[in-house]
C-alpha cells in the first residue's frame, strides 16, 4: 500500500514536471512580469499586475498570439521583487532560467530595474522597464529597453513648450541644489532655454537647500529679474510652499514644473494656489481621448480606480513586447535564438502607437516619445493639455 502510494506520487510529480515543458516547446509563449507586489510601493506592483491581466485578457479573447501565421498560447508569470534591488535581480534570474520566459516586463523603479537589467542583458533576454527614468538602466545594455522618457529629456520639453505656448524669452529657475533630480533637471532646462533664447535668457537661476521653507529672498530676486515664467522641478511639498510664496510676493506669471509634480499630494498640499499651472509628465488621466481613454475606462470599470502612469506605461510595454514578438515574423522554438530575434525586432520598432504616446527606440533602448503637458484644472484634476515631442 505504502509503496503503491509512493509510486503514484512519483508518477504524478514526473507528469507535472514534464507536461508543461512538452507543451511550452510547441505552443506557449511565456512573458515574465518583475514587479513590486509587496514592499514599499505595493500600489505600483498592483498597477503592473492589473495591466498585465487586462493585456492577457485581450490575447485570450483573440484566441492566442499570432506570430508568423502560427497561433501561440500566452502565459504571464508574475514574480514579486518586494521593491528590493537584490530580489529584483533574483526574480529576473528565476524568470529567465527556470521559467524560461521569452521576455520580461519590469521592474518599475530604477533602483530595481538597474540590477535586474544587468541580469537580463547577461542572460541575453529582452527586458523592458515601463517606469524607470534613470539613464543607467539601459546604458550599454542592448537587451534592455524602457517605456518612458529619461529625466534629461524633460528640460528641453519644458523649454520648448513655454516658448510655443507663451512666447516668453526670459525664464527663472528655482531648484534644490542639494538634491540630484531637481539639480540635474534645472541645469538641463537652463541649457535648453538658452539654446532657444540666447545666452543670459535665464535671468534668475536661484537655489535653496533641502528642508528650506522660506524662499522669499530667492523669489524676490526672481521677481525683480523681470522673468516671465518660473520653472521649478521640485517635489510636491516644496511646490506648495514655492507657489504660495511666489503669489504672495506679487508673482502673476506662469509657474511650470516637471514629472515630480505628478502626485495627488501636490493638489492636496497646494490647494487652489496651484490651479491653472502646468507640468510635464508621462500621461494624463483626466481629459484623455481615444485609446488612452478606452484603457482608463476599462481599467476603472474592472478595478474601481483610475490607473496612474505606472499602469499605463506597463500596458504600453506589454504591447511593445507583443509587437516585437510578432515583428520577428516567426519563432524557431530555440529560446536563445528567439530572444535574440525579439530584441532585434524591439530595437527596430518605429512609431509604436502607445497610449502614453508614440515611441521609437534609440540604439540605447530608450524611446523617443512625446511628453504630456498637464494643466492642473480649476477642480484640481490633472488635465491633459497637449503633448510635446522631441
Amino acid at each position: 500500500m505504502r509503496k503503491g502510494f509512493l509510486a503514484l506520487v512519483a508518477v504524478l510529480v514526473l507528469g507535472l514536471a514534464l507536461a508543461p515543458c512538452g507543451l511550452a516547446a510547441q505552443k506557449t509563449i511565456k512573458i515574465g512580469i518583475n514587479a513590486p507586489i509587496t514592499g514599499d510601493i505595493p500600489k505600483v506592483g498592483e498597477g503592473s499586475k492589473y495591466a498585465a491581466e487586462m493585456w492577457l485578457e485581450d490575447i485570450k479573447a483573440a484566441g492566442g498570439l499570432d506570430v508568423g501565421g502560427v497561433k501561440y498560447d500566452v502565459e504571464v508569470i508574475i514574480e514579486d521583487n518586494e521593491s528590493k534591488p537584490e530580489s529584483a535581480a533574483k526574480a529576473a534570474t528565476k524568470l529567465i532560467t527556470e521559467d524560461e520566459v521569452l521576455a520580461i516586463v519590469g521592474p518599475q523603479s530604477s533602483a530595481q530595474a538597474i540590477p535586474a537589467g544587468e541580469m537580463a542583458n547577461n542572460f541575453g533576454t529582452p527586458m523592458i522597464s515601463p517606469w524607470s527614468t534613470n539613464p543607467d538602466t539601459t546604458k550599454d545594455r542592448p537587451f534592455v529597453f524602457r517605456g518612458c522618457f529619461l529625466d534629461p529629456f524633460q528640460g528641453p520639453v519644458v523649454a520648448n513648450f513655454i516658448k510655443e505656448e507663451f512666447g516668453f524669452t526670459k525664464a527663472a529657475v528655482l531648484y534644490d541644489v542639494a538634491s540630484d533630480y531637481p539639480k540635474g533637471l534645472a541645469e538641463v532646462f537652463k541649457e535648453a532655454w538658452e539654446k532657444n533664447n540666447g545666452p543670459g535668457s535665464v535671468v534668475a537661476f536661484e537655489s535653496f537647500t533641502t528642508k528650506d521653507a522660506d524662499f522669499s529672498s530667492q523669489l524676490t530676486n526672481i521677481i525683480n529679474s523681470g522673468a516671465e515664467v518660473l520653472f521649478t522641478p521640485q517635489y510636491y511639498n516644496e511646490v506648495a510652499l514655492i507657489v504660495q510664496q511666489a503669489h504672495e510676493l506679487g508673482w502673476k506669471n506662469p509657474i511650470v514644473g516637471s514629472d515630480s509634480w505628478g502626485s495627488a499630494e501636490t493638489v492636496k498640499l497646494c490647494g487652489e494656489e496651484c490651479y491653472g499651472l502646468f507640468f510635464t509628465t508621462h500621461y494624463a488621466a483626466a481629459g484623455a481621448t481615444g485609446a488612452t481613454k478606452a484603457f482608463i475606462d476599462r481599467y476603472n470599470q474592472k478595478y474601481g480606480y483610475v490607473p496612474d502612469d505606472v499602469g499605463a506605461l506597463t500596458w504600453d510595454s506589454l504591447r511593445i513586447v507583443q509587437a516585437a514578438i510578432q515583428g520577428t515574423g516567426g519563432l524557431s522554438g530555440d529560446l536563445k535564438k528567439d530572444r535574440e530575434a525579439v530584441k532585434d525586432a524591439m530595437a527596430n520598432i518605429k512609431e509604436f502607437d502607445g497610449i502614453t504616446g508614440k515611441m521609437t527606440f534609440t540604439p540605447d533602448g530608450d524611446p523617443i516619445k512625446c511628453a504630456v503637458i498637464v494643466r492642473i484644472s480649476d477642480k484640481g484634476e490633472f488635465e491633459f493639455y497637449k503633448s510635446v515631442c522631441p
Binding site: V177, S216, S217, T220, N224, A240, L241, G250
Partner: protein, 307 residues
C-alpha cells in the same frame, strides 16, 4: 530700493519666528541654566495642536454648530493652542527636567534632545509620515505698495509677534510672578530659601516659553502651510543661536537677536547663492560672539557663577 524694502519685509516675518522661539530658550536658560533642546519640537507640537484646533473649529463652523467668522477661529486657535501647548511644556519639565535638576547640566541637555526625538517620532507614529496642510484660516490678500508686496498674513504675523513680546516683557517687569522669575534668574540657589517656590517658577517658565512657541508654530504654519514632524529641529537650533546671541535670560536680547538672525539670513540669501547662505550667516554670528561672548544683553557675572 524696492528690492531692499521687499527683503526687509521678508526678514521681519522670518525674524518673528526666530524671536518667538528664542524667547522660550532664553527664559529657561536664564532661570534654570538649562539648555532645553526639546524647545524646537515644542514649537512643532504647537503647530500640530494648532492644526487640530483649527480643523476642529472649522468643522464646527461648517456644520453650523458654532457660526464663527474665520478671524475669530484664528484668534481662538492661537489662544487655545498656546494654552494646550503650555501644558506640554510643563509636562516636559515635570517628567524630563525636574528629576535631573541636581544632575550635571550635560545630562539635562541630553534629556532635552531625547524628549525632542520622542516628540518627533511620537508624532510620526500617531499621524504618519504624510505631510499635512494647515487650513487657510485667513484668505491671503496681497497689497502692492509701489512695487513692494505685503500680505495681510505678513502684517498679522509681525504684529501678533510684537504684541506677544511686549506682553511678555510687561509680565516679567510688572507682575509679582515676573519679579520672582527675575530673582530666580539672579540666583536660583538662594531665592528658594526666601520662600519663592522653585518648582512653580520652573513650571511657569516652561508654560510661558511653550505658549510662545505654539504661537510661533501656528503663525509659521499660516505662512508655510506644509507641516511634517521634523520642522522643529532646524528652527530650534537657529533660535537657540538667537537666544545665546541675545544674552542669557534677556527678553529684549532674544527678540533683537531673533530679528537680526532673520535679517542676516534673508539678506545673505538675497545676494549670495543659497548653498553658502547659512555658512556666511552663521560665520557673522560667530564673529559677533567672539567680540561679545555674553551676547547683546547678557550679564557676565551671573553666568560665571554656575557654569
Amino acid at each position: 530700493m524696492q528690492l531692499f524694502l521687499q527683503n526687509l519685509i521678508n526678514a521681519l516675518q522670518w525674524g518673528s519666528f526666530y524671536a518667538l522661539i528664542a524667547l522660550g530658550y532664553s527664559m529657561v536658560y536664564g532661570i534654570l541654566m538649562l539648555f532645553n533642546f526639546a524647545h524646537g519640537d515644542i514649537f512643532m507640537v504647537g503647530a500640530y495642536i494648532g492644526f487640530g484646533v483649527a480643523t476642529g473649529l472649522t468643522a464646527l463652523a461648517a456644520m453650523g454648530t458654532l457660526a464663527l467668522p474665520n478671524w475669530v477661529i484664528l484668534v481662538l486657535t492661537i489662544l487655545i493652542s498656546m494654552f494646550l501647548t503650555s501644558f506640554v511644556g510643563m509636562l516636559v519639565e515635570r517628567i524630563g527636567y525636574r528629576p535631573l535638576r541636581e544632575a550635571p547640566r550635560a545630562s539635562a541637555a541630553i534629556t532635552g534632545l531625547m524628549i525632542g526625538i520622542i516628540l518627533e517620532t511620537g508624532n510620526l507614529a500617531i499621524l504618519g509620515a504624510e505631510r499635512i496642510r494647515f487650513p487657510s484660516l485667513i484668505k491671503s490678500t496681497t497689497y502692492d505698495l509701489g512695487g513692494v508686496f505685503v500680505t495681510n498674513k505678513k502684517i498679522m504675523i509681525v504684529v501678533v509677534s510684537l504684541v506677544l513680546m511686549l506682553a511678555l516683557n510687561e509680565f516679567i517687569r510688572r507682575t509679582r510672578w515676573g519679579m520672582a522669575m527675575r530673582a530666580m534668574a539672579f540666583d536660583y540657589v538662594v531665592i528658594p530659601l526666601m520662600g519663592v517656590p522653585l518648582n512653580t517658577i520652573a513650571s511657569l517658565t516652561f508654560a510661558l516659553g511653550s505658549g510662545l512657541a505654539a504661537a510661533a508654530g501656528i503663525m509659521f504654519a499660516i505662512a508655510y502651510p506644509v507641516l511634517d514632524p521634523y520642522i522643529g529641529i532646524i528652527y530650534g537650533w537657529k533660535a537657540f543661536v538667537a537666544a545665546i546671541l541675545g544674552g542669557r535670560g534677556s527678553v529684549k536680547g532674544a527678540c533683537l537677536a531673533g530679528f537680526l538672525l532673520g535679517f542676516i539670513e534673508i539678506f545673505v540669501g538675497a545676494y549670495m547663492p543659497s548653498s553658502v547662505r547659512d555658512l556666511i550667516a552663521y560665520s557673522i554670528i560667530l564673529l559677533i560672539l567672539v567680540f561679545r561672548p555674553h551676547g547683546f544683553f547678557g550679564e557676565p557675572h551671573s553666568a560665571k557663577l554656575r557654569l
